[in-house]
């Protein structure tokens, strides 16, 4: 049992001593997940608003499909992206496999259905009311889009944070397309898997604590937002 307590102490030591390898891993994790989430937001939010406001043929079927993709296992997303990016795949010539770019793409694919689904849900409920109010006051086009985003900014931010949390905590997709290469594509979750299997518990625990800390931070921000609303 000693190794657990020891592991904890050494982990704390690594964190406070600003261990270079540890911080590189953390920085890449945050960079990849923030990028994947933000790029997805540029795409998901307008799409979700459009889908939420319009009534179109087979809307229910599309919605079901979207909700299914929201909970796709991340290894499957990794596999799918790898098929496209691997040397023999359609985008193999871009040589993106095992690079941070590939990881960003994978996380983009992973969180896009989630973010689209979450925002879609919000827009379906309150967005139509906001749209109608805007129209009645004479807004159209881009003014209408800005109005809806501004009115739903709290909910949209919550969807962003939820997506980021999913991105940074997943391991399957980044493992497959990143390959956990030291100093290049190694992120928090893939390191935990690897250091654990090597018996290097200190650094695994340290990274686990950091991940927990990030989760905690995201949750407090989310909770703070929710509290504001009441």
């Amino acid at each position: 049992m000693d190794y657990i307590a020891n592991g904890f102490l050494k982990a704390l030591n690594l964190i406070v001593s600003m261990d270079m390898e540890l911080y590189k891993i953390i920085a890449l994790s945050i960079f990849v997940s923030v990028s994947g989430t933000l790029i997805s937001a540029l795409f998901s939010i307008p799409l979700a608003i459009f889908l939420g406001l319009r009534n179109f043929y087979l809307k229910k079927v599309y919605t079901r499909l979207l909700y299914t993709f929201m909970s796709t296992p991340s290894v499957l997303v990794g596999l799918l992206v790898a098929l496209f990016l691997s040397r023999r795949g359609p985008f193999g010539w871009m040589q993106l496999m095992y690079t941070p770019a590939a990881m960003i793409i994978a996380q983009f694919v992973l969180v896009t259905p989630l973010m689209t689904g979450l925002v879609f849900n919000i827009v379906n409920k309150r967005g139509k009311l906001i749209e109608k109010t805007g129209r009645l006051l004479g807004a159209r086009g881009i003014d209408l889009l800005i109005l809806i985003i501004r009115e739903l900014k709290v909910e949209i931010t919550m969807a962003l944070l939820t997506s980021f949390s999913r991105a940074i905590s997943e391991v399957g997709a980044v493992m497959i397309v990143g390959g956990n290469i030291k100093g290049h594509t190694r992120v928090i979750t893939t390191s935990i898997v690897m250091f654990n299997s090597m018996g290097d518990y200190e650094i695994a625990i340290a990274l686990g604590l950091i991940l927990l800390l990030i989760s905690l931070l995201m949750n407090s921000i989310l909770y703070g937002f929710k509290g504001d609303r009441q």
């Binding site: 109608k132 109010t133 129209r135 006051l137 004479g138 807004a139 159209r140 009115e151």
Partner: protein, 204 residues
């Protein structure tokens, strides 16, 4: 603005709600009455261009719906939605999207707030108001850009007596200035005191 309805038919899931052969609204104030569910709100939503219909025609100055008409009319809904920003910014919104300068916005908003006696609310959040306050702010937000056609859907139902007198005077004046005002109300005495033009919607 002159609104003419011809053979207008509206159904919700095959249930007929409106069936109007011929109806015309002209400049000035018209009160629209009718029992619950007779289609008053439906009618205003159709005229505002926010609801489609199965048959018939709605003409504005004898022409179909256009962009110009879109931005020179408004409907104050039965339950107005307040934007989650200050009362001032709620009322300023229609002017801002019409690209008025900040100075013009300021002058117009302050003036309308004063008219409606809600200046002291201007810093309150729009989504934290009482029912009567919401109705006054919604009316200010509609009047501020001087729509040629103003539609009010039971817009005074939660107001106290003092506010009501003031608001009725404002509505009457606004109609006298050459605008078209369609006012849905349940109160026959209110309708009679406001105008001789009273339309009764029959249930279909």
């Amino acid at each position: 603005m002159n609104i003419r309805l011809k053979n207008l038919e509206k159904k919700f899931y095959k249930k007929p709600v409106l069936n109007i052969e011929n109806l015309e609204f002209t400049k000035g104030l018209t009160c629209i009455m009718g029992s619950n569910g007779s289609g008053k709100s439906t009618l205003l939503n159709i005229i505002s261009g926010n609801l489609n219909y199965e048959n018939g025609q709605v003409l504005y100055n004898d022409k179909p719906f256009t962009k110009d008409i879109y931005s020179s009319m408004t409907l104050v809904e039965q339950k107005p939605y307040m934007l989650s920003r200050s009362v001032y910014d709620n009322v300023a919104y229609p002017l801002r999207i019409r690209r008025y300068t900040n100075r013009e916005v300021h002058t117009k908003v302050e003036e309308i707030l004063q008219n409606l006696q809600i200046t002291e609310l201007k810093k309150n959040r729009g989504d934290e108001l009482s029912g009567g306050e919401i109705q006054k702010v919604a009316l200010a937000r509609a009047l501020v850009f001087s729509p040629k056609l103003l539609m009010l859907d039971e817009s005074t139902s939660n107001m106290d007596k003092k506010s009501l007198e003031n608001v009725e005077r404002i509505i009457r004046n606004y109609a006298q200035m050459g605008n078209t005002v369609l006012f849905v109300t349940h109160d026959l005495n209110q309708a009679k005191s406001l105008t001789e033009n009273i339309v009764n919607l029959q249930e279909v």
